[in-house]
Symmetry: C2
């Protein structure tokens, strides 16, 4: 199925994509999907690599999904680089790319604005169906972006129906997204295994992100406080030396502030249902961080990182 000299098939319509996947499955091949919004970096490619270990063929989708952006957000200027993305996907061993122009119905004759979903104006024949995971969408990033996970769940549902994968691969860096999708799959009986890939890290521990390139050399050094804070908490939880979530929160916040980071949040939540936790000894606990550091150009860079304490209690 792969090889340097072979073309990487690129599908732009749902029908063509589904036909290709069904042919693969008819031949007994297990299919994995890696949904992306493009502009791929090493962390995305590690998802493709993980997918290759779980399935015989891997489809990567590239689609900047308008329904997960609010009207004031950066949908129009979200970076796109499809040619380079395809080359990277081919090099890492993906077997097909799904690259639709639009995934939402375009009403003939309606003005462009009427077809833009996630905005104010709607045509009565335009897209109107949404999938919502009601509780899991609320904490962490959901508070400031109320439509975000609704848009994610809706587009992932569409991609699942088009690509019909046996396995779908998401990164654990976007931990809440991974949990929201996992719960959606459970609740709606999708016949799909959801795989959460561990966070890719640089040699010194910094979680990989395209945003790291915007850090000044001093900030790059300071930012190690995130992975150090997580490692401290993992060790403390494993040893049983702290049992109270508030104590962990305060200590990690202190480490970050001491290093010069500006905390957006340091949160401890139940790792599966993202509900409140106090006791660290009997359940898996997510420790999630969002911290600003000075950028090398202007403003700050917001980095996120997380780990699960007591992962064996999942």
């Amino acid at each position: 199925m792969s090889g340097e000299d072979q073309e990487l098939p690129v599908f732009t319509t749902a029908a063509d994509m589904r036909n290709w996947v069904r042919k693969q499955k008819k031949s007994g091949r297990k299919v994995a999907l890696v949904p992306t919004m493009g502009y791929l970096h090493d962390a995305h490619l590690s998802l493709v690599k993980a997918a290759l270990e779980k399935a015989d063929v891997v489809v990567a989708s590239i689609y900047v999904n308008p329904t997960q952006f609010a009207a004031h957000e950066d949908f129009d200027v979200y970076p796109r680089n499809a040619d380079e993305d395809r080359a990277k996907l081919k090099a890492v061993g993906a077997h097909a790319v799904f690259e639709p122009e639009s995934l939402y119905v375009q009403v003939p004759g309606a003005s462009e604005g009427a077809n833009v979903v996630g905005r104010e104006t709607h045509h009565p024949d335009s897209h109107e169906t949404y999938v919502t995971v009601e509780r899991l969408q609320k904490p962490l990033c959901g508070g400031s972006r109320p439509h975000f996970f609704r848009g994610v769940c809706t587009v992932v549902t569409k991609l699942f129906h088009i690509c019909e994968p046996d396995v779908a691969v998401f990164g654990r860096k976007d931990y809440q997204q991974f949990r929201v999708i996992s719960r959606m799959v459970r609740d709606l009986d999708f016949p799909i295994e959801v795989v959460g890939v561990p966070i890719g890290r640089e040699a010194d521990g910094l979680a990989m992100s395209s945003r790291n390139a915007r850090l000044s050399p001093e900030s790059r050094e300071k930012a190690l406080c995130l992975s150090r804070g997580l490692a401290w908490a993992e060790k403390a939880a494993a040893e049983g030396s702290v049992s109270d979530s508030a104590a962990v929160q305060a200590h990690v916040r202190g480490l970050i502030e001491e290093a010069g980071g500006k905390v957006d949040y340091v949160e401890l939540l139940h790792a599966i249902n993202l509900g409140p936790v106090t006791d660290l000894s009997s359940q898996p606990v997510l420790l999630a961080l969002a911290v600003h550091f000075p950028a090398k150009d202007v403003g700050t860079v917001r980095l996120i990182d997380n780990t699960v304490l007591n992962p064996d209690k999942e």
Copy 2:
């Protein structure tokens, strides 16, 4: 696949049901699903017959879906008669029955109330994912039952994921439900053809319903005003003798009230998007009726009926 002497397979788990369907599809058979809440009558069986014309094998599901009932509604006393349902399905030629005990996750150790969806109390690990068709759910029956179509869409999504049908069959008597499901399938890219079966009628025109048995002999006669009103409007629209929806509404309402029916609604809406209409000449228009008649025992019987004017303009 059929025959008087063969057992009708009955599946109670999602895994068993899906395995059976996948085997059918692997053998090249086209699969149709007829979702029901059981207590089957002739109109349900006409859906199975329509399904048999569209596919090689027909699965009927029997499941009283708690998420489409509000807390004050009649979920607990909804009539159930599974043995008779199975006999009827076998007689009409269905090939399998899906009869799950519950389709919603039951959290181990949680109190019973915490697992009841559609009610107030939720456990943090209980079902929380819903599918909503935002605009189409609002008019007609949606106004008085705000959670109804959300529950219908959610359970139909689950049934689609479990039974993986090529075709799904719904009655046009529940016209809004048929349109809501059709739009959900379009918007979420389900690989499923939705078929809407025309309303089954008695020889004199009365739409079939299990509620007809509750009409007194006088009410049974009066209730013919519904189909007569629809027939009048169909003829008027076809001849072009009325072009204004308000005129049709007033005339049909008059016919019904003259016959002694108590109107809940007489509504004309765009037949596809259920938006407002005024002009009857250029678009398909739903004429939907809900009318109370005296019951033979106590209270009234609420009958519904509908037709599409200008169906060729769909």
